[in-house]
């Protein structure tokens, strides 16, 4: 079955980010979304440690380790950037000032629950800012493979892993589809043209619904 690369998923997520938006991208894969910001749109990226107006990574050797993102990677400051302390940074988040948070997921449930911080109760727990982000941002989107490495569904009826937040996810961008959470149900908005509804349903752990036409999930060649 054909599927999108990580870059393809990130590209698709980036297309939905509005001009003027304030956006927080989770550590790791979600950071890739910034690379595909459509030209002509001004997006301001927030980093939990206290930066608004984060730019791309500097060239190797030009890192300033006092200008890092939440993943502790070196970044740059765009013109108009600002610096603030950690309580102010999370006041932005908790106070509903961040328009969009894009996170990864272990599981997303059809009721919008998200599990993305811990698998079972093994190992050292580490939560970071994910719980703050999913309750604070105005809109929460997830970018993820449609299934786990072992082929298990990541879109499920109820999360089995510890929750990050309850009923918080609005949209999921997967390697196969774009799925919204609407009134406790998964609604398929777009799918890869080459993959049938039934094929996607077969690798999804909850019922997929349709509400209106299902668009074609097409990303630029080479991604």
């Amino acid at each position: 079955m054909e599927k999108l690369s990580s870059a393809g998923i990130a590209w698709r997520a980036a297309q939905d980010i509005a001009d003027g938006a304030y956006v927080n991208l989770g550590i790791g894969f979600p950071e890739m979304v910034a690379q595909f910001q459509p030209p002509g749109r001004h997006v301001t990226y927030h980093s939990e440690n206290g930066i608004l107006g984060m730019g791309p990574a500097p060239e190797e050797g030009a890192e300033d380790w006092d200008v890092i993102n939440a993943g502790k990677k070196a970044v740059t400051l765009n013109p108009g950037a600002s610096i603030f302390h950690h309580a102010d940074s999370f006041a932005m988040v908790r106070g509903g000032h961040i328009d969009l948070a894009v996170l990864g997921a272990y599981e997303v449930a059809e009721n919008g629950d998200l599990a993305n911080w811990r698998i079972g109760n093994k190992g050292t727990p580490a939560v970071g800012g994910a719980m703050d982000m999913v309750t604070g941002a105005r809109r929460v989107a997830v970018v993820t493979e449609h299934v786990t490495k072992t082929g298990a569904p990541k879109l499920v009826e109820r999360c089995a892993n510890p929750l990050t937040g309850v009923g918080c996810v609005a949209r999921v961008y997967t390697s196969l589809a774009v799925v919204d959470v609407v009134d406790g149900r998964f609604v398929l908005r777009e799918k890869l043209p080459s993959v049938t509804f039934e094929a996607i349903q077969a690798v999804t752990g909850a019922q997929l619904h349709q509400a209106g036409p299902v668009g074609a999930l097409v990303v630029p060649e080479g991604l």
Partner: protein, 239 residues
């Protein structure tokens, strides 16, 4: 992204009847006189916006700024800590006539309620006011052997603030102690409108020196050489 607006008229054009309007400033310092007067002018011309709730530390002085709003009759309620001033007539008259409601809040609690509104904290505990008549109706709770009362967040539809420098992204600095309530009010309002003495290019304010990050500002207008309310009041000016 350019949040700058060309005129004072345009920048206050969509403030609605009944809005909760936070107005920065303490005494005359930091009062966005031109924004307020643009709003009063609009009310005089159109009858809107009326029935406003004004949040400020004080309740106007003389015949300018918030006092001019009160005189114009566009204010239904004032939330403040100290509705007295050297020239309190505008508020006094409306209050004694029962035309303006007053919610009195201790100054630090007012600041913290506003900050809580901006920070997504619906309620918090403070010792301020415990055992006084301003504690009436507020839940009490003991923490570590001391009594505290619970206060609620305070949010607004609109905040009017006065910055010194501002850029098109909405980043602001403030002149000296004119900072006072502006940074927290900018956080607590759905739509924050700033007047700035000088509009600069993004990047001209060093990232470490931005006081209010642009995320908290919806639009801004340049007002070079703005009036200082204290100076207007001492000169006996009226709007």
């Amino acid at each position: 992204m350019d949040k700058s607006v060309a005129s004072l008229e345009a920048v206050v054009a969509d403030i609605a009847d009944g809005a909760v309007v936070m107005i920065a400033g303490f005494g005359g310092s930091g009062i966005p006189v031109e924004l307020i007067h643009a709003l009063v002018a609009r009310y005089r011309a159109t009858g809107h916006p009326g029935g406003l709730t004004v949040v400020n530390n004080n309740a106007g002085t003389g015949s300018v700024g918030i006092a001019a709003m009160l005189d114009a009759g566009m204010v239904a309620k004032v939330i403040c800590s100290f509705p007295r001033s050297s020239q309190p007539q505008a508020f006094q008259r409306r209050y004694e006539a029962g035309e303006v409601e007053l919610e009195l809040v201790p100054q630090g609690t007012l600041a913290e309620r506003i900050r809580a509104g901006g920070a997504g904290i619906p309620a918090f505990y403070t010792a301020t006011g415990v055992g006084t008549e301003l504690a009436e109706g507020k839940p009490l709770e003991e923490f570590e052997g001391r009594m505290y009362l619970r206060e609620r967040w305070l949010k607004a539809d609109v905040a009017l603030v006065k910055g010194e420098l501002g850029d098109a992204h909405g980043n602001l600095t403030y002149r000296l102690a004119a900072r006072n309530f502006a940074p927290i009010m900018a956080m607590a309002a759905g739509c924050t409108i700033a007047q700035v003495s000088r509009l600069v290019k993004p990047g001209e304010i060093a990232p470490e020196q931005v006081v209010t990050p642009g995320i908290f500002v919806a639009r801004l207008v340049e007002v070079p050489e703005p009036a200082q309310e204290e100076v207007l009041v001492r000169a006996g000016e009226a709007f």
